[in-house]
């Protein structure tokens, strides 16, 4: 692999980091049974807010904390209206997505094109010197490392710990979780706000690192949040699969850029848009085990092959948390 490609791929990992934060924050929220549809607005508002704080204080850390705080506050509005007031999560989330976006453009005007701090690259001493793996994974900035950790931490928490099991439980069947001692609505508040804070980090991850600065409507961030929402769904509410989706998306976007010069016959718009349908196609393939005709086709195969295939498909299969978007009322 030549060094340009390697550098490009390393760039893919870095570019995927903000999407990862958004996707994993949303995954945690939805696992608890709450849909935070405001992701797109949250990312823009926290990108602007985080940047503004970093510019004014000169502190990157405060910038990121401001982003997380904005995300948590937006999530709190969703939690309050959907859990306490029992209003539609979709309606409230959608409106918040629009309001936060416009708010970020309006409030961000003074910071348009301002120069601010940027998260420096921080190669890890020994690991960074490894051939191939070093430049790919370990010569990134702190945030990208954090995104690696976040994937595995979220996965381990949801699937390997007791509170994580209960988190699955409150999103799956709150009545059963309640019977087993969970304070369903309190936990939903907690996970919605935590998930929102993680989504909120995605904003400064752009404005202080991946696409440093704030350029208002031409920041190129509008739309990322919607992609993050769909990756959450196709990722089957599993951080590992969601990470796969986020990396795939970043890779396809990069390929669009790289291939453009070598494919002059194809209009550049096609290559720019191609990642989106390709993304859908790949993820449909991953979820193919859900379809009934597949099950029927499998029935004709010999016993052994069928069992192995069925198990593989079953492991790929994903269903939304059964109580997603459904308020819980105690009897």
């Amino acid at each position: 692999m030549d060094s340009a490609t390697l550098l490009g791929l390393a760039g893919v990992l870095a570019a995927a980091a903000p999407v990862l934060f958004a996707v994993i924050g949303e995954t945690i929220t939805e696992r608890a049974g709450v849909i935070n549809l405001s992701v797109n607005g949250t990312i823009l508002l926290s990108a602007m807010g985080g940047f503004a704080v970093a510019v004014n204080t000169g502190s990157l850390l405060l910038g990121f904390l401001a982003g997380a705080l904005i995300g948590a506050l937006v999530a709190l509005v969703i939690a309050f209206s959907s859990i306490t007031l029992q209003q539609s999560q979709v309606a409230v989330g959608f409106v918040l997505a629009l309001v936060c976006r416009d708010l970020s453009y309006f409030l961000g005007n003074p910071y348009m094109g301002a120069s601010g701090p940027r998260l420096p690259s921080a190669p890890i001493p020994l690991l960074g010197d490894l051939p191939l793996i070093g430049p790919l994974f370990f010569r990134q900035d702190l945030l990208t490392y954090l995104s690696y950790v976040l994937i595995f931490a979220a996965w381990a928490y949801i699937f390997k710990t007791r509170p994580g099991l209960m988190l699955q439980g409150i999103g799956e069947r709150p009545a059963a979780a309640f019977a087993r001692g969970a304070d369903v609505n309190r936990l939903r508040y907690l996970y919605t706000v935590i998930g929102g804070a993680i989504i909120g980090i995605a904003g400064p991850a752009y404005s202080l690192s991946v696409k440093a600065g704030w350029k208002g409507t031409i920041s190129g961030l509008d739309g990322i949040g919607w992609i993050a929402l769909s990756i959450t769904i196709f990722g089957g509410w599993n951080p590992l699969r969601a990470a796969f989706g986020a990396y795939l998306f970043a890779l396809l976007q990069w390929l669009g850029l790289v291939l453009q010069p070598s494919l002059p016959g194809i209009p550049s718009q096609v290559l720019q848009v191609a990642p989106f349908p390709l993304m859908i196609l790949t993820l449909l393939l991953v979820n193919i085990g859900n379809a009934e005709w597949v099950e029927r086709a499998l029935a004709r195969l010999p016993e052994n092959t069928r069992h192995a295939l069925a198990r593989l498909l079953r492991s790929l299969r994903a269903a939304p948390p059964a109580a997603l978007g459904v308020p819980f009322e105690q009897e």
């Binding site: 710990t161 007791r162 699955q168 799956e172 309640f178 087993r180 001692g181 029927r296």
Partner: protein, 489 residues
Amino acid sequence: MNVELRDIHKIFAAVHANNGINLKIPAGVIQGILGENGAGKSTLMKILSGFYQPSQGQILLDDKPVIIRSPADATRQGVGMLHQDPLDFPSMRVIDNFLIGHPGELIPDRGQAAAQLEAIQQKLGFSLRPEAHVDTLTVGERQQLEILRLLWLGVRVLILDEPTTGISALQKEKLFAALRLLAQEGKTIIFVSHKLEDVEVLCHKVAVLRQGRLIGEMLPPFNITRLVEMMFEKVITLGNRRSCCRGEISFRLNALELEDARLHIPGVSLEVQGGEVIGLAGMEGSGQALFLRACAGLVRAVGGHISINEHDLTGKPYHTYLEHGIAYLPAARLEEGLAPGMTLTEHFLLAGEARGFNIDWEQGRKVAQERIADFNIRGTPASPIEALSGGNQQRALLALLKHPLNLILLEHPTRGLDIESSIYIWDKLKERCAEGAVILFISSDLEELLQYSDRLLVFFSGEVSSPLDAERTTVEHLGQFIGGKGWAA
């Protein structure tokens, strides 16, 4: 653990659901709680298991007054409840279900938990795979999992709400054996049911509830007639078997071959006379549901022919089946049969003949009023369908059926209904038979199968028996046949 309920009252807005109930249940006893739908059994059990607070009254566990604040609090104090629809997490694995809510360190030791699951289930004669997904289990197995989990949590009083609804005869045997064993160990078992025959074979003591009051208690040997009288305030008999067979063949299956992802039904040939009732027996998932859906035209047969009154329906769309007077009533009433959120009037309007573009509400209400009176539905034309009780929903479904019909296909027509409602439903169905309709129905209730069928087909993992004469078949024989005994190799 000794359980004592003292003067328990529970008042919901307008309903006095429990009215001064006093009951003592010593440790080691299997206590039956009998009563028709709406008698207050579930309310009483939900009070004991912490879902409701009593409006008045006291609960004593081992002679100490206690307050049970929540279901989790009940489990901590040693009282666990198995709900009719097990409160578990269908999409998750057995072992995860077992672990959720069990106190312990941050990262649970799955290996150890699986070993403990194995230890308890070996004692009780269950065999669940820890790695299986709960949605692949039968209702009976899901009950077993809940029982294991509650025992693991240290429960000493086990409440079971209608546990024999929807499970096979074989699983019922297993369940009863396990309950007897637990009682011998000194656990208190509370068995809530409206099925007399279950209470009769299992319980050491029975209490009967009616309209929120405790009517009385009885010790074995149980006088069934007296129990029925206590439940309903009057004597109810099942009535004589009657057959409406007309002689001429109306419904014909010729080497019908079916297949889905799991099952293959090799070839069923059957000739049914007008007015005849055919019961489909078998453990859940043995092929009877697939068979019924194929008769309804919802599943396409792989081979063979279906015909009704000499019209060949093979491979025709569902619509054609409807035109030929075939009706299908699925087990999931609210999900597949009715439209939750819509009123009775709207249901009758939807099911009626469509005339014109505008809705004739006046006419609709009139029809609804008539049918409500005809079918003795407890509700008004404006009642949303989901607000009706199970029995009334089933009556509404029957009231929605068109006239005349040639073939009625039913899945568990009386599941979850009390005896009075069941008898009513069957009276209405027999009226249809008298008009010449053929009935095919699935049931897991052996008594029902034998009482109302003319002939029986038994299903066992895709195999179909030749038709049995219901009058000459006994419950024991049928039970064994369903369990796979007595089949020619």
